[in-house]
Amino acid sequence: MSSTETIYLVLFSTGFAVGFGHCIGMCGPIVASLSLSLKGRGVIIPHLLYNTGRITTYGLLGGAMGATGSFTSVTAGIASLQKGVMIFAGILIVLMGLAMAGWIPLGSIFGDYYKPGGLLSRTFGRLSETRSTLTYYPLGMLLGLLPCGPVYTALIAAARAGMEAQSTFKGSLVGVGLMLSFGLGTIPSLLVVAKLANLGWLKRRDTLYKISSLLMIGVGIYFVVKAIRY
């Protein structure tokens, strides 16, 4: 096995290890909130889309790191954007909490779908459902920008690989590959959180939805405060 293949494996296993050790603590609240907002519906497809969006962003950042060979210049360029994304994530969690409790009508985006009778209405319902599920991909892309220690560490490896590459293009490709390897490694842990936080296996959910909504609102506010202080 070549040293290049080894570093891909190292980053994949790093992603897997930090996923269960670190990402659950830092990104768990977001993933749990997304699961709860699905109100017991299937979580796998939306969360796979969310994770695909997240690692797409990692790949793009890895490409930029590999092309420039500089971690600090790229991160300095996106620092204010990351702060904005952190605030957005907090507000989003608050909104999902409010929507889940039925206090604001956001159902068409993340909450219940419109499920009327009749063939035409059912078709529109399906389309609405597909559109709603697809929003998890751009959401994942955006939240992939959230500041995160292990992601930064992986990006340093991508920048280093870029410095050692023979050309900007090759450096960029290696950067993308390394960050995709890292991102893929983090998916299992976040899928576990997504599945565990799903309410589908409970019969009486109304009170729990209310409690979960309040918890989500609290977590969202915590995220916003943390973002302002970041």
Binding site: T72, M86, L196, S212, V219
Partner: protein, 140 residues
């Protein structure tokens, strides 16, 4: 049903509780004031003096790590692993190159943790000989 509900609430609390910030946890013991000058420590009859430039040492900036070794001689090139005490941040290794008599240098970056924790450790390792840790605060 009660068991299921309690189990769900436990899962929810774990999933929704963000990682503790610096304000809510016991501070890690710091053994190196890296902002005021180099720090020294020993292992296996080797004394290591570590310096990080520029000062004050800030996260997310390019840093130069200089390690001076005194005592027993060794052949392999040493390296520094940067991490946080008690938290897996992934492998962030600074490879050191010879920069003079018993002197090694390398460039690296200490990343910023959104939890707000500022305590970092630099583990200086000489392959086949041993390693020593320096625990210090960084500025964000």
């Amino acid at each position: 049903m009660l068991v299921k509900t309690m189990l769900f609430m436990a899962i929810l609390c774990i999933a929704l509780c963000p990682a503790p910030s610096s304000a809510g946890r016991k501070p890690d013991p710091v053994d190196c004031d890296v902002h005021s000058g180099p720090c020294s420590a020993s292992f296996n009859n080797i004394q290591v003096t570590l310096d990080i430039q520029p000062k004050p040492v800030k996260a997310m900036t390019d840093l130069t790590f200089t390690a001076h070794f005194a005592g027993e001689k060794f052949v392999a090139h040493p390296y520094i692993d940067l991490g946080m005490p008690g938290m897996n941040m992934g492998r962030n290794r600074v490879f050191l190159k010879p920069a003079g008599e018993s002197l090694y240098q390398g460039r690296g970056v200490i990343v910023r943790c959104p939890s707000g924790r500022r305590t970092w450790k630099a583990t200086v390792t000489v392959p086949g000989v041993g390693s020593v840790e320096f625990v210090f605060h960084v500025l964000y």
